[in-house]
């Protein structure tokens, strides 16, 4: 009885050559987190472009409606109206906000499981945000360039050559999209971090907190509003974006540092 058991023992032996070591693939922990985000390729590279496409399509529809309504493509009123349309910001901004929250909220737990520190996670996520922002800036700059080269799509449609993207100045377009996207993603990331740290009440309290700070700031600055408006330079926005990106990253890190994983 016992002998039959033992004699069959070696027959399961073939599994013994289980694998070989594949060392040397481990990355810098920050890049590893960036790669973790990049593994979600559709989220990173597919959806933003699809979203830009949808927004462009909506712009075209609106243009068509106003054409049918009697406005002439290429007329001064037409150009002014098209260029002033801020729809792109709202539509793309909303999506990027979702993307920023989701990238932190759904990836953090797995990154920790893989041995990432919370610091590496924050920095790696920031780097991924930068990649997405650069990519989107390149896409929108390219589309603007095509719009300019084709004399506004041969008809006179102003979709990307608009006020909010810097009136067709390609360098400005690139910088605006880059900084704008990066700011949105990192600020949204803080909301994702707040959700991980404090669950549902986190983002609500954070939203209220930021709102209060803004109101107080306005209350303090409102007497000088006219002077500030007169002195305003566009580069202020770039500085403000930089400050917000840094503050948001620090905020994310602070919150994730003490976040409990359940």
């Amino acid at each position: 009885m016992t002998s039959t058991l033992l004699t069959t023992a070696p027959t399961i032996a073939p599994t013994s050559t289980l694998g070989t070591h594949s060392k040397g693939l481990t990355m810098n922990p920050i890049f590893a987190v960036t790669r973790l985000h990049l593994t979600r390729r559709i989220m990173t590279f597919g959806l933003p472009v699809i979203y830009v496409g949808v927004v462009a399509l909506l712009s075209i529809m609106i243009s068509l409606i106003s054409w049918r309504a009697g406005s002439q493509p290429g007329s001064e009123g037409w150009i002014a109206g098209s260029q002033a349309n801020p729809g792109l910001v709202w539509a793309l901004g909303g999506f990027l906000g979702y993307m920023g929250v989701a990238s932190t909220a759904t990836t953090f737990r797995f990154a920790i499981t893989l041995g990432s520190t919370r610091r590496s996670f924050t920095l790696g996520t920031l780097l991924w945000n930068l990649i997405v922002a650069t990519y989107l800036a390149a896409v929108l700059t390219a589309l603007t360039a095509i719009e300019l080269l084709t004399d506004h799509w041969f008809i006179g449609f102003y979709i990307f050559d608009i006020f909010i993207l810097g009136y067709g100045n390609l360098l400005i377009t690139f910088v605006i999209v880059l900084l704008g996207t990066l700011t949105l993603l990192t600020v949204a990331g803080v909301f994702g971090a707040a959700w991980i740290r404090f669950s549902n009440r986190g983002p609500i309290l954070l939203g209220i907190g930021i709102g209060l700070v803004l109101i107080v700031a306005i209350l303090i600055l409102i007497p000088q509003a006219a002077e500030i408006a007169a002195a305003f330079r566009p580069w202020w926005l770039a500085v403000a974006a930089g400050v917000m990106i840094i503050l948001a990253s620090l905020g994310s890190w602070r919150m994730l540092r003490r976040a409990i994983i359940r």
Partner: protein, 296 residues
């Protein structure tokens, strides 16, 4: 030998709930340790703290002399996939296999592929749609193929069918034999994994009730059974962990070792002395205290 894992006075509270209550323990390197206890005993919390995925409310945790929390070099040598592990949205097994080597320095990609085939886990389906058993398989694949010097497995048996369980043991035993490391495996199903352990930790209500090498178990407790009045009489002055009775018969699990004098008395009274298994010990410790005593 230096201690691999050292916990001193570790308490972990979640709001009003105390998940771990001043736990101190030392574990040597290179064992397969069973972390045993009932659901909600504090097993996952303990593993989380050892893995540096959480910080204690009080006390210190050291792995190889470092607090693992936010310590990248220490974290690189630890792997813990929790029983309720979340994966990024829409992640499938291919994604997991492609990202793991970027983080895990000892990752064995070939072994991982073999395990995916062995467990018959679908590669391309979203992990969100996985069954409980498939989730456990993914956790086991990550744990075993990570070859982490400290591999922590949180309830790896959940939802596994008999074949998968058998396969898991085969893979774990072989891989640990060929690539020695420390494994801590938490489970509330003791019988099916008992023979794998060379050390056991029993936790209940946030406390470590037993920390012992498997060879010491016979010295820690024994069972004595017979007529109920005889058993009550024999164990009157002893530390009884658990007493089971049916009318006329009783069986007591007693802390300590049965000495020759006791064996003689028991035999004379017609009672039988039996060794206890690890499963018996877990049951005995799990029922040791009444809820009132536990709260006190």
């Amino acid at each position: 030998m230096t201690d691999h894992i050292v916990l001193e006075g570790v308490t972990r509270r979640f709001g009003a709930h105390t998940a771990l209550d001043s736990v101190s323990l030392r574990l040597p390197a290179g064992s397969i340790c069973g972390l045993l206890g009932r659901n909600g005993a504090g097993k996952t919390t303990l593993l989380s703290l050892i893995a540096g995925q959480d910080l204690p409310s009080e006390g210190t945790v050291r792995v190889n002399g470092h607090s693992p929390f936010e310590h990248a070099a220490t974290l690189a040598g630890i792997n813990l996939v929790r029983d309720n592990q979340r994966y990024p949205d829409d992640f499938d097994v291919r994604n997991v296999l492609s990202i793991a080597p970027s983080f895990l320095p000892h990752w064995d990609a070939e072994l991982a592929e073999q395990l995916v085939a062995g467990f018959r886990v679908p590669r391309g389906r979203s992990i969100k749609k996985f069954s409980r058993g498939q989730l456990s398989a993914v956790a086991i694949i990550l744990g075993v193929a990570s070859r982490a010097p400290l591999t922590l497995m949180d309830e790896p048996y959940l939802g596994l069918d008999v074949n998968a369980r058998r396969y898991f043991h085969e893979v774990l035993v072989r891989d640990v034999a060929e690539h020695p490391r420390t494994v801590i495996l938490s489970t509330h199903h003791v019988e099916e994994s008992e023979s794998l352990f060379d050390r056991v930790l029993i936790v209940d209500e946030g406390r470590v009730l037993l920390d012992a090498g498997i060879e010491d178990i016979p010295d820690l407790a024994f069972a004595v059974s017979g007529r109920d009045d005889v058993i009550r009489d024999l164990t009157a002055d002893l530390d009884v962990l658990r007493l089971q009775t049916v009318p006329g018969l009783a069986s007591a699990t007693v802390r300590g070792r049965a000495d020759t004098e006791f064996i003689a008395r028991a035999e004379a009274a017609g009672a039988r002395i039996l060794p206890v298994s690890v499963a018996d010990l877990v049951t005995a410790y799990g029922t040791e205290r009444t809820p009132e005593e536990a709260r006190a």
